[in-house]
């Protein structure tokens, strides 16, 4: 009976501990994804303002340049545009953002920032597109710094608090 109790307590502590560790890992992932996104937007900016690639092609190349889940934004919006079914860049970009939201650790504010670009993407001259994408990168860099600070503080907290919470639950059950 005691052995069973020990196994149960260990399982609870491990479960809560893993939950805490995964939360801490999510914070690190978010920082990595923001950085990846910023670099990808830089690539897209060059594709548009220097090479003048059509948007669907520029997005496809950017998707190839970056890793999942960030690549999913560019891949999805590019494939929608390539269907040429009267879909606008804004609609395709928003569909890509939705895909990114589902598969990434990015938060509402970051997703919202990406969405602000939808109405301007592809529909103005190259210099304006460059301005738009540069601004996005700068704002993402600020969010990245903020996320990094949050991750530094939160990493230890989530790592320990998972185990502590598990221990508390065990104590309460005893």
């Amino acid at each position: 009976m005691l052995g069973l109790k020990i196994i149960g307590a260990a399982s609870i502590i491990t479960g809560f501990g893993c939950w805490g560790l995964s939360a801490a890992r999510r914070m690190d992932k978010r920082v990595g994804q923001l950085q990846e996104l910023r670099l990808a937007l830089g690539f897209l900016e060059k594709e548009i303002s220097c090479i003048y690639s059509p948007l669907s092609q520029a997005l496809a190349r950017t998707a190839y340049f970056c890793r999942p889940p960030v690549s999913c934004l560019f891949e999805l919006s590019s494939s929608i545009l390539q269907e040429k079914s009267g879909i606008t860049a804004a609609e395709a970009w928003n569909a890509g953002i939705e895909g990114l939201r589902l598969h990434s650790e990015l938060q509402k504010m970051e997703i919202g920032l990406l969405a602000t670009a939808s109405l301007q993407l592809g529909v103005s001259e190259a210099s304006q597109q460059k301005k738009l994408l540069t601004l996005l990168q700068e704002e993402l860099a600020l969010l990245e710094q903020k996320a990094m600070r949050e991750a530094e503080g939160g990493r230890k907290m989530w790592t320990y608090s998972g185990f502590i919470l598990g221990a508390m639950v065990v104590l309460l059950l005893i």
């Binding site: 548009i48 003048y52 059509p54 948007l55 520029a58 009267g86 592809g122 529909v123 103005s124 001259e125």
Partner: protein, 313 residues
């Protein structure tokens, strides 16, 4: 290009009710279609020959415009997005010139708020109307003119005089194709086409969409005067073809080409020879015997009707 093919090429550029109406329109109607016009909050208009029609949502042509499909800003926005592949930045130069050439050589004219800066027109925004001008290849349409242009296997300097919409560009294209490819009475010639408005070759992303022959070099979207000089310096053409000459610099460049021994075939907007002679620049060109042949076109029996052949031998 037959009606069905033209329908398949053109309809994907439209969306919503406009696309539906155009998709339901019989392929036969596309055979002689010349223009499709979309204006914000106005009925969609289709030009077939001399007549202009509205289009109902059932895909029927109508003269009663209140029954016709009305285009809205959204239709225009989506159509332009579709034409430009959602990449207006890649068409800055074309928009500055007021049109985009799409695959097939069809020209889409744009109107809206023109952005002007010190150096000239910068672009167009807030698009309010779109005009699809459908390009047509009529192979063999220059057959009646060609025997006059070729004299003992050589090309004579020719001026095609024509009002708008009388088929001068289509005839110039067929002349280019015929003398570039060659045929029993005419050996193949190297040709330079100065296609300032992308109409002769219908170039889209660097590729001529219309057949201008195997020995034709196209200087697309290039101002005629510059293009003529570039061509004689770098392409060593035997024949130079240009559409709608008229500016002072065009005439000067033309004289240079003739002096360089390059045969020139070009067109000019005018109803007849008298109108050409009234313009000081072209009058001077004619008085210098720059051209040996003049061809006057009209629409009397349809586009490309040859009204008069003039020889200045």
């Amino acid at each position: 290009m037959d009606g069905q093919m033209l329908k398949q090429v053109i309809t994907p550029y439209f969306t919503g009710a406009v696309k539906e109406g155009l998709s339901r329109l019989k392929a036969e109607a596309y055979r002689h279609m010349e223009e499709i016009r979309l204006r914000a909050a106005q009925p969609l208009l289709i030009k077939i020959g001399e007549s202009e029609w509205g289009l109902t949502s059932r895909g029927e042509l109508t003269e009663k415009l209140p029954e016709a499909i009305t285009a809205n800003r959204e239709d225009l926005y989506r159509t332009i997005a579709s034409i430009s592949d959602n990449s207006l930045y890649a068409f800055e130069e074309e928009i500055r010139r007021g049109f985009i050439t799409i695959p097939g050589g069809h020209r889409v004219g744009l109107a809206g708020q023109v952005i002007v800066q010190a150096e000239g027109i910068k672009g167009i925004k807030e698009f309010s109307s779109i005009c699809f001008r459908l390009a047509r290849e009529k192979k063999g349409c220059a057959q009646t003119i060609l025997p006059h242009i070729i004299s003992s296997g050589n090309i004579v300097n020719t001026l095609i005089i024509s009002p708008p919409r009388c088929g001068k560009t289509t005839i110039l294209r067929d002349i280019a194709r015929s003398i570039s490819t060659g045929y029993p009475a005419c050996p193949p010639h190297n040709i330079a086409i100065i296609d300032e408005r992308s109409e002769i070759a219908g170039t889209h992303r660097g590729l001529a969409q219309l057949d201008v022959g195997a020995r034709s070099d196209v200087l697309d979207a290039c101002p005629k005067a510059w293009g003529m000089m570039m061509a004689i310096r770098s392409l060593s053409p035997q024949v130079l073809i240009a559409d709608e000459i008229g500016r002072k610099e065009d005439v000067e460049a033309l004289q240079e080409c003739i002096n360089a021994g390059v045969a020139v075939i070009c067109s000019i907007h005018a109803r007849n020879l008298e109108e050409v002679k009234k313009r000081p620049l072209t009058k001077e060109l004619l008085s210098q015997a720059a051209f040996r042949l003049g061809v006057v076109l009209s629409r009397r029996n349809g586009p490309g009707t040859v009204e008069e052949i003039i020889r200045w031998d």
